[in-house]
Each structure stands twice: as C-alpha cells, then as structure tokens.
Symmetry: C2
Subunit: 348 residues, 2 copies
Amino acid sequence: MNLPRIAIDAMGGDHGVRVMIEGAALARREHDRFKFLLVGDEERIKRALDNHPNMRGASEILHAPEEVTGDEKPTQALRRARKTSMGMAIDAVKKGEAGAAVSGGNTGALMAMAKLSLRTMPGIDRPALAALLPTLGDTDMVMLDLGANTDCDARNLVQFAIMGAAYSRIATGLAEPRVRLLNIGTEEFKGTEVLREASEKLRAADQRLALSFGGFIEADKINRGEVDVVVTDGFSGNIALKAVEGAARFVADLLKSAFQSSLRSKIGFLVSRPATELLKHHLDPNNHNGAVFLGLNGIVVKSHGSANAKGVANAVAVTARLLEEDLIDRISADLARGTDTAPAGQAA
Amino acid sequence: MNLPRIAIDAMGGDHGVRVMIEGAALARREHDRFKFLLVGDEERIKRALDNHPNMRGASEILHAPEEVTGDEKPTQALRRARKTSMGMAIDAVKKGEAGAAVSGGNTGALMAMAKLSLRTMPGIDRPALAALLPTLGDTDMVMLDLGANTDCDARNLVQFAIMGAAYSRIATGLAEPRVRLLNIGTEEFKGTEVLREASEKLRAADQRLALSFGGFIEADKINRGEVDVVVTDGFSGNIALKAVEGAARFVADLLKSAFQSSLRSKIGFLVSRPATELLKHHLDPNNHNGAVFLGLNGIVVKSHGSANAKGVANAVAVTARLLEEDLIDRISADLARGTDTAPAGQAA
C-alpha cells in the first residue's frame, strides 16, 4: 500500500526542530516507506536536515512564518493558526496534502486547531485524546479522554468507548476489547450520575458493538492487564495519567537512592544492571509516545513535549499504523452499529 | 496529658477481629498510655484478647450485635447504625465515652454514620477524607478529599485547604504549609470554573490564613516534596490516590519479574536486598495507614480494609497524635481567621 505522507510540526516540542527532524529520520530508518511534509521555519529545518541524508527525497518543506508557544492560550493561538507551523500542518491534512499530522506543541492549541479545521466525524459530538499505555498483561491498553474535554456527558463517554475500542482493535488485534469506565468504586451506585448513565447505555449497546463492556474500574487496577480500554472524562483521565507517571518516577527515584545507600547496594546495582535496564526501558515514556485525537475527520497525533528523537519516532510509527489500518473508517463503521450514539440534533 | 481512650470498630477490615485487636495491642506496646474501647462481638473480641496480655486493664469491651458489610450501601447501613460495631464506636465519641474512633470498614458507611452522628463543625459545609502520603522531600504531604464528596464547589475546596493545612501543621511542624489545588495544568485558565474560583478565594485569603497558597499543581508533581497540602474534590482525589497506588505496585511487579529474568539478575537481587527492602518499607501502604475525616465534631479515622496489624497500629498512632494536638480546636481557630469561608446561610 502507498502510505500517505505525514505532516510534522517541526517547531513543536520542548527540544525544537533538531529533535523533531531527528525523530522523523529515525522512524524512516526503520520504515523507509515513510514520507514527510516538514512544516516550520525553512532555514532551521534545512539545517537540521543536513545531518540526515536518509530524509533526502522523502521530505518536502512547507515554510511557516510563526509558531505556537507552550503557554499560549488556545483561543489566542487559534487567531493566528494559518501562519503557524501547527496550524499549517493540520491544514495540510485537511487539504489532502498529508495523511496525518504530528505535533509536540501546546496540547490545548493543537486540539482547538484540529477541531476547527478538520471538524468532528459524523456521529461524534466531541473528539478525545487517547494513548496506548503499558500493562502487566501481554498487550497495551488504550485510555481516553486524557485532557481534551474537562466536562463530559454520558453520550460523550459512550462515543469515547466506541472510538477507544476501534483503536484497541488496531493496536492489539483483539476482536472485542474489554472496555471499562473509570470510577471511584465498582458497585453500580458509585460515582457520578453521568457515569451511571454511561454504564447503562454501554450495557444496553454491548451486543451491537465490537467490544465487551465490564462496568466500572478503579484507578489502581487499570494497568493489571484486565482491561483493554479505560474510558473517562478528560479531567479525571489527565489526573490519572499524570498520577501514574509521577508515581513511576517516584519509585524509580527511591530505587536509585536505595541503590546508592551502601557499598553492598552499589555492587548489587552493578550486578542487577540488566534487570534495572529492562525496567527502565519498560517505563521510558518515549517508548509509549504518541497520543491520538480520536473523532476528527483526519488523524492528528500529539507527541509529548519532552519526547526525545526515539519518542518522536514512536509517535510517527503510531501515526503510520493508524493510517495503514484506516482508523477513521473503522470508527465510522463502529458508530453505525451503535444506534444510541447519534450526535445531538439527530435521532437519539 | 491524659489521653482519652480510642474506640476501635473491632469488626471492620478485611482480616476481621484478630488483626484489629493485634493492631491495637501493637500500638500499645509502643505507647503504653493508649487505652481502648473495643466495639463488636464480645465473644470474638475476648478470644482475640487472649493473645495480648498487654491489653489487660487498658481496654473495655462494648458489645455490638451487628456489623456493617463491605459492599453495603451507606443508606442501608445507616438504618441499623445503632446496632453495628461501626455505628456504636462513633456513638461512643459523640457521648464522650471515647476521644476518637478507628474503623477499617466500609468507607461510605463510615462517612455517612460519622456525619449524621457527630455533625459537621461550625464553619464547615462538608467533611473531607484526608491522608498523609510519602514524598521525595523530608516530610509527608496531606491530600484531601479522597472520596467523601464526589462533587465540590469552590467554598468546599477552600474549607478543605484550611483543614488540610491544620493537619499538615500537626504532622510536619511547618508554620505555613504550602497548599495547592490539583488541576490538569498550572496556568490560571486551566481546569474547571470551580477550581478557578477556589484559586481566587485562596489567593485573597492567603494572608489571613496559616498557609502559603501556590496555585495549581498537576498530578505528576504531588510527591516531589514541593507541596505540603494537595486539595481536590473527592472524585479526582480518589482517582489520583488509587492511580499512584496502582502505579507503585506496577513498578514493583515489573522490578520483581526483571530480577527473575536471568541468573545474574537473581544474584544481583540477593546482593541488593538491603536496597530493595528499604524501597519495600517506603512503599508499604501499612506505613501510611490511617485517613482522617476532617470537619466533624469528633475524630474518626479510616484504616485501610486490607491493613495488617502494623497498619492498624499506624492508624491508632495517627489518631492519638490528632487527639493530643487538638486537631478540632486548631481547625476552629483557623476557620475563624478566614472570614470568606463561613458556611452557606451565614454572612459571606
């Protein structure tokens, strides 16, 4: 299959152009069918490309005079979207000049621009940000929404479940991913009215959808390998994801200082190195980089601002996978199966 | 000072009477001024006491014919509160027969019974569940609410901040604990309207209160030692706390399997044992057991359902500390300083 090229917002991300280009080049070293539209300051992109001969013939530059800053308000960034590398990368997807866009910039601005330019898919009220996260099981799990929507209603959550399951099927190959709603208890009466309503709707639609709904799940159980899709509003999802990241770093820091606490421990550390390296590899967020905005008429992937080149390459690989597997068509087909999920205004 | 006795709900907790009594006895071995009112099935308590001669003369039994089950709805448990070990332990606090109550039972039922029997303090609209959690800094931090209130308004959050700071001052000795609101970003425009309003109120009252308000904090930063009190609604607080617990267990499990992955790693594990034991001790939730319901006219402490005897002893020690330091008087005094926090109905 002929893979459409991927637009890269070369200016987004904490480490600037150099790391974005290095990441794209790294991804291309593993999959030489990847082609890129590099959007940003032409001079700086050209200079960064000098170090990567494998990008020659595989990339085109689209000059953007401005860039979105990390602390800019989304509403403010929207006003000058057309001149920014982020806005122009998304616009290239809209015009069909690229198949998908990847950015490491301001998440709120990316969401706002992507929504305005690409619009939500028929059947979806609001897009959601989804990521693949590691578990103790054999496959990764999908979690969404991770911060696109602070408040959600039951209908939003049902749509997130359908989109998350489509993503999980692509990522894991499972026919009916196990879906749960994040809550503060598993009993049916626990949590908010919105969660109870979403649970009822999903239970009722379960037979029609390509997923297996298992009710509520608590935040300490999400990475045990017992669930493939964790559905939540963007506030709780963001809190849970960051709490997990912080706790993992906390334990790693404690382990480090424990290993430095005595000579015996230092020797033990040296002997155990292969084990701790394995752990480090497993926990490195760069190996799980690339969160997807689901529910838009186009694929937009958010790379973590602090991602290194390996992380950017991972985000590019995720993007290519979603293009190859026709994520958007799959979501459309799944939405057609769950009749309760028509957007407000259409028949309910 | 003469420490008032502590009422123990001997029937609560996953491991039953034996562990609750063993925990009380363990606490008393370290502090022989502790005295107890043991509430529950008289025969079973007597049998459990046979193994703990140090409890003789330091404990009285109050027979309770019934007990609250773990999956019981709070409203259901409330109806038979007077006959249950949980309800009778709380009632003993109300009647002045005990200074505080400790239970390892159903959190929702404990909250409902404590609220109905002890009532909220003047100046507090809703009580909150608070816990001390480990950080990378020198002192523990207080986090609240951890699940008592699914929805909160700005006024609730301000009151939680004042109560949490009072608890932090007792636990850490700091004159002005650093207080932050949990949010999905640190910029002022981030999060919900409720959070933005609470932030403004706290910023305005900061000078009058014995705390230092620092705005918002994200969930990945809470355990870095940069904050002493993390304030949030009960839904997000519960999600964050459980996500941290789950992630810590996740990393520990990965580390274990990494250490078993080769002979070299196994040897490394044996050599590193002192380091990993140190980590294990630091992460053992029993060492941080004992969450407090703040804002009631009496002290009620929740011990984790799965706590072992060491965990129960820790919850008892937390309870004694709060009694000795007059937590409730301190909160009253702090509330009087923050005039914006009068309960609905009084002058705003």
